[in-house]
Amino acid sequence: MSNSTPAQNKADPSEQPQQQQKPQVLEEDDEFEDFPVEDWPQEEAEQAAGSAANGGNEHLWEESWDDDDAAEDFSKQLKEELKKVEASH
């Protein structure tokens, strides 16, 4: 919200004791918090102005599968499991 309520600024540790004895209710644990400032330049945003509009965050996500080196192990486990079935027949 606006930067008009300095005493609400939870980032300032000196505030805490005072707020606790006051009747004001603090924001709930899982509620979206008011920003201490109203606006900020893009450089201070999560995706800084420099990075590409769409690709800036790509390095933070990855594909959902994993061609790991354990493929051999899996192959072996699978063969064993199949043998068990044949044995039980």
Binding site: N3, S4, P6, N9, A11, D12, P36, V37, E38, D39, W40, P41, E43, E44
Partner: protein, 517 residues
């Protein structure tokens, strides 16, 4: 528009006023611009002056009206539009009746500042409200058709009576009623002995038997007169009638067991309200009547008046829970999901107060109900209500398994669970089992080639016989999707795929509309 400077930018930001969060602003977190000096700005004078009523959240751009005028939110306007839409007209409700009701609904909402609180999209249309009110009057029991009423059986009532605890009159008397079969833990229920007041009952019923008489009564009620069928005299201007809601509960003194339901619009007359001991006897009577006569219209009405008497007297105890549970079970059995849902909502509140009853049984129903209505927001709430202890309960576990099987598209598991449903959950599952069959068939037709034996479908999708399967397939596709080959009937998957896809979409669409009850 883009280029003009917004006021928050046209503002001098006093640096001292910018709170500095430790991580936040090393550099000034604002764009300094020239301070605005002129305060004598162009006056804003087109708005209605001070005292105008609260809700007007959408001034239409067109009217620069000189005097204050209430503009209704778009949702209200859409609601009004729907009221007048030709497809929503009801023959038995005249235009003027509907308009009158509509006017009432909207002024009521505006006066109580509820214009923005009401979910207009889901609010019943005035014509429907009028119909419902009429039905309530007409639906009162009359001796003439009593005991002969046979309601159509619930939609999914197939030949397979799995857990059905149906106790319609045609069944032998030794069958226990559904609520007994479902729960044999009702000590409280068993404690209450049934008094012999049948004769009196019959008389009161006779008094209220004609719907005309009911209409008359209803009319009187609006004129401030007590119920006509209470059996006790009620002085016209009894001072006790004007009980303020905040002045505490009504203490009833009506001794009659049966009472028709009316919606209250003012404080009830204690003469027409039954105290707890009478209500307990009334419940016994109703259980007996339901078992013997199975007249749902009558039973439902009686239960609603029972609930009302409990509410106005602030009775909230184990008995209250029992009443809602029994009413819910009966509504379930009859496929009256509107009534069932009302009970279910109240039960959730009651269970939260730890008043006893059968919370796990109903938590399970609730999950199944939200599967049926596809209300995922409510489902999330229902899941949040399930405790680790609840999960040990067979019915809860079953309902959770049903939910997750469907969420994952595991029709194989779903139909295994369907065939093994505890308590009265099958009545709920019957409501959506065909929909899930269509969903499964859509997947099967896309995944198998070139065809599958319909025996496979019978077994996988919980059908009773290949004949039933074939009939179901034909009902939703066409003859050329089935073929006889090597002595078995086979479903030609590629031919049928599009048909089932369409049928599935249709089934889901219908429920999305109906689910809004």
């Amino acid at each position: 528009m883009n280029s003009s400077a917004p006021p928050w930018r046209a503002t001098a930001w006093a640096p001292t006023s910018t709170p500095v969060a430790s991580q936040v602003s090393a550099a000034p977190a604002y764009i300094p611009v020239q301070a605005r000096r002129s305060l004598a700005s162009n006056k804003i004078n087109h708005l209605p002056s001070n005292g105008s009523p609260a809700p007007q959240p959408n001034m239409s751009a067109a009217d620069e009206a000189p005097r204050p005028r209430v503009e209704f939110p778009p949702a209200v306007r859409l609601y009004v539009q729907r009221c007048f839409a030709p497809e929503n007209q009801v023959a038995s409700v005249s235009h003027s009746e509907m308009q009158e009701k509509l006017r009432h609904v909207i002024t009521d909402a505006a006066e109580n500042h509820k214009l923005d609180m009401i979910d207009w999209e889901r609010l019943a249309l005035p014509q429907v409200m009028i119909q419902n009110e009429r039905n309530k009057i007409l639906a009162n029991p009359s001796v003439s058709n009593w005991g002969m009423s046979s309601l159509p059986s619930s939609p999914g009532d197939t030949g397979r009576k799995r857990k059905s605890t149906d106790t319609n009159q045609q069944q032998s008397g030794k069958e226990s009623p559904p609520w007994r079969k479902a729960n044999n833990r009702n000590r409280f229920e068993d404690r209450v002995t049934y008094p012999s007041t049948e004769k009196k009952q019959r008389m009161t019923l006779d008094d209220s038997s004609k719907s005309k008489a009911n209409l008359e009564m209803r009319k009187k009620r609006f004129e401030g007169v007590g119920y006509g069928n209470s059996g006790t005299s009620s002085p016209v201007d009894s001072p006790s009638r004007s009980v303020d809601p905040d002045q505490g509960p009504v203490v009833g003194r009506c001794q009659t067991l049966e009472k028709n339901y009316f919606r209250l619009t003012s404080a009830p007359n204690p003469d027409t309200v039954r105290p707890l001991p009478v209500l307990q006897k009334a419940l016994d009577l109703l259980k007996k009547k339901w078992k013997q006569e199975g007249n749902y219209t009558y039973i439902c009405d009686q239960f609603k008046s029972l609930r009302q008497d409990l509410t106005v007297q602030h009775i909230r105890n184990e008995f209250t829970v029992l009443v809602y549970e029994i009413h819910a079970r009966i509504a379930l059995e009859k496929g009256d999901l509107g009534e069932y849902n009302q009970c279910q909502t109240q039960l959730r509140v009651l269970y939260a107060q730890q008043l006893g009853g059968h919370p796990t049984e109903f938590k399970a129903y609730r999950i199944l109900y939200f599967i049926y209505t596809r209300n995922w927001t409510a489902m999330n709430d229902a899941l949040a209500d399930v405790t680790a202890e609840d999960k040990q309960d067979l019915a809860v576990k079953h309902a959770l398994d049903v939910r997750s099987a469907l969420a994952l598209g595991n029709y194989h598991r779903f139909f295994q669970l369907y065939l093994d449903t505890p308590n009265m959950g099958a009545y709920l599952m019957d409501m959506f089992v065909d929909r899930e069959r269509l969903t499964a068939l859509a997947a099967i037709c896309r995944a198998y080639k070139p065809d599958v034996n319909i025996r496979f479908i019978t077994e996988e999708l919980g059908f009773e016989s290949d004949e039933q399967t074939a009939r179901f397939i034909l009902d939703h596709s066409s003859e050329d999707t089935l073929e006889e080959k090597h002595g078995s009937v086979r479903l030609l998957t590629s031919k049928a795929a599009a048909r089932f896809e369409q049928a599935k979409a249709e089934a889901n669409r219908i429920v999305d509309i109906k689910g809004q009850i």
